[in-house]
């Protein structure tokens, strides 16, 4: 297996982007990444696109061909593959590309992630998100996507793993960082009171416990590590990319205060990278809901079970804390265009490890981690990047 490097990254602004279509967004991110990697375009020999639900959001399937076409790759017949794993679509697309380069099947691969969510009503968008759960046995019976996480939060509070305030502090942390990211959907710091007093979505979770509906796209370019210096003087090594599955429905699990797929993917990633959780200095974790972020910090081993909530509330997940978490603003403040999210996380970690993160730069970071999750932890990808 060949070692793999990231040689270019690109991202659009995230938010309610009424003037931009799905293809506008996908192409903007891809071209920025190719430009960053100093590619003309003719070097690219493979593409993977993470996207959850273009069929439902914009009534367009076959977006692999669409993006290949409008990015000028179809004219040279570059193979393009769309990858779907709900919220983990981008992370899985990234891992597919890593495997394609590592195996020797492809040399220069562009990974894109894109979602256009605001061409439908909020109500319709939420119903589409509900389909990341078990549609037949959860959504059909009245469970919404937020309600499943609300029920996890309830167990956290009942078992005294984290308090309501500690859970809410995840959003405060993400917003503080999002305020420093010019591409973020929300660039405004908030207080704990804002989270606790905003309108209820699914008790105990409020609007500010939940990531927004967003448009946006992100892209990265991969190549074999030993060829990376031809394209950039600052390649970032992909040290590990591990994936794991769990049951589709949350009620099929005995313990809902841990996601087995996150723990399994993290274990595989640390083992493959030959490092420990303590070696990670910057992490992008999947905080579609505050409780999801707190639980991920525990399952990734970045904080012990029962301590993550308190640590976040005490500033240990802030830039300058024990581990800088969601320096981009996370899903909560950067925005969450579903298929783009997993790739946007890789973009942020790459910027951090290159020293390109401006006001939100973490000092002397060697290892960065990206945690991308689909549904209620039914598909999880954990990738580890290393500064060289």
């Amino acid at each position: 297996m060949r070692e793999v490097a990231i040689i270019g990254v690109g991202i659009t602004k995230f938010g309610e982007l009424w003037d931009a279509s799905f293809r506008d967004l996908g192409i903007e991110a891809g071209l920025k990444a190719m430009n960053d990697a100093n590619l003309t375009g003719s070097e690219v020999d493979g593409m993977f696109i993470g996207n959850m639900s273009s069929g439902s959001f914009i009534a367009q399937h076959h977006i692999s061909a669409l993006i290949a076409d409008y990015s000028g790759m179809a004219s040279q017949n570059v193979p393009s593959t769309r990858v779907e794993a709900a919220g983990a679509s981008g992370g899985v697309a990234f891992r597919q590309a890593v495997m394609a380069v590592a195996s020797g099947m492809h040399d220069i691969v562009v990974v894109g992630g894109a979602e256009k969510m605001t061409d439908v009503s909020d109500e319709a968008a939420n119903s589409i998100l509900d389909s990341a759960t078990d549609q037949q046995w959860e959504a059909m019976f009245g469970a919404t996507f937020p309600s499943l996480y609300a029920m996890i939060a309830r167990r956290f509070m009942h078992e005294k793993i984290a308090t309501r305030e500690e859970i809410a502090s995840m959003a405060v942390n993400s917003h503080a960082h999002g305020a420093l990211n010019p591409d973020a959907q929300f660039r405004k710091a908030i207080t704990l009171d804002t989270v606790l007093r905003s309108s209820m979505v699914s008790d105990p979770l409020t609007v500010f416990d939940c990531a927004p509906i967003s448009d946006g796209a992100a892209a990265v370019v991969l190549c074999p590590l030993d060829a990376a210096k031809k394209y950039t003087d600052r390649p970032i090594k992909v040290t590990a990319s591990a994936q794991a599955s769990d049951t589709l429905a949350l009620f099929q699990r005995n313990d809902i205060t841990t996601f087995g797929a996150t723990a399994a993917a993290a274990k595989r990633a640390y083992s493959s990278a030959k490092i420990k959780a303590e070696d990670i200095s910057v992490a992008e974790v999947h905080d579609h809901f505050t409780i999801e972020g707190i639980m991920a910090l525990q399952d990734l081993g970045l904080f012990k079970k029962g301590e993550a909530g308190k640590a976040v509330k005490d500033g240990q997940a802030a830039i300058g804390g024990k581990v800088a978490v969601n320096t981009s603003g996370g899903l909560k403040a950067r925005g969450n265009p579903i298929g783009a999210t997993g790739v946007a996380q890789i973009v942020e970690i790459t910027k951090q490890l290159r020293g390109d993160a401006d006001k939100r730069q973490v000092k002397d970071a060697r290892y960065g981690l990206a945690h991308n999750s689909g549904g209620t932890g039914s598909t999880v990808v954990v990738s580890i990047m290393e500064a060289l």
Binding site: E123, A124, N126, S127, D130, Q136, W137, E138, A139, M140, F141, G142, A143, T144, P146, S147, A150, M151, I152, R154, R155, H158, S199, M200, V201, S202, D203, P204, L205, A249, L250, F251, Q252, R253, N254, I256
Partner: protein
């Protein structure tokens, strides 16, 4: 959705019929064609199994932002119920004061209307849960 898609799941939806693994004895809901623990050894040995209709609230939430189908119900309680057979099942908790719902509360399953799809002239029914003594 088509009528057939609803109709073929009626045993599970109406009567909480799941499966029991003939190899290890584990119970599953909804139905599965193989046991996730025994895998190949369970193939062809999965038997129909009707859950007992009592259980307790394992966790819950009051839903304030619902999907279009359930907009007229909100706010409503959704819960994961630990059934007496040991398995968890997700469903709505009805005929209950939303302020009185708590973890550990004994409940029983009842058959209720889940929703309707006027474009295919279908009313969907399925289990919901009520306080044990209701």
């Amino acid at each position: 959705m088509s009528v057939a898609r609803h109709w073929r799941e009626t045993p599970g939806r109406y009567n909480l019929v799941g499966t029991k693994c003939g190899n290890c004895g584990r119970i599953y809901f909804p139905r599965r064609s193989i046991c996730p623990e025994c895998r190949r050894a369970s193939f062809g040995k999965m038997e129909q199994y009707m859950l007992k209709d009592h259980g307790t609230v394992f966790t819950y939430s009051v839903v304030h932002e619902a999907s279009a189908d359930n907009n007229n119900l909100k706010p409503y309680a959704i819960a994961m119920i630990r059934m007496d057979d040991g398995v968890l099942v997700t469903g709505q908790l009805v005929d209950v004061d939303l302020d009185k719902v708590e973890i550990g509360m004994p409940v029983r399953a009842v058959l209720r209307k889940l929703g309707d799809e006027s474009h295919i002239a279908t009313i969907n029914y399925g289990y919901k849960f009520v306080p044990k003594d209701k």
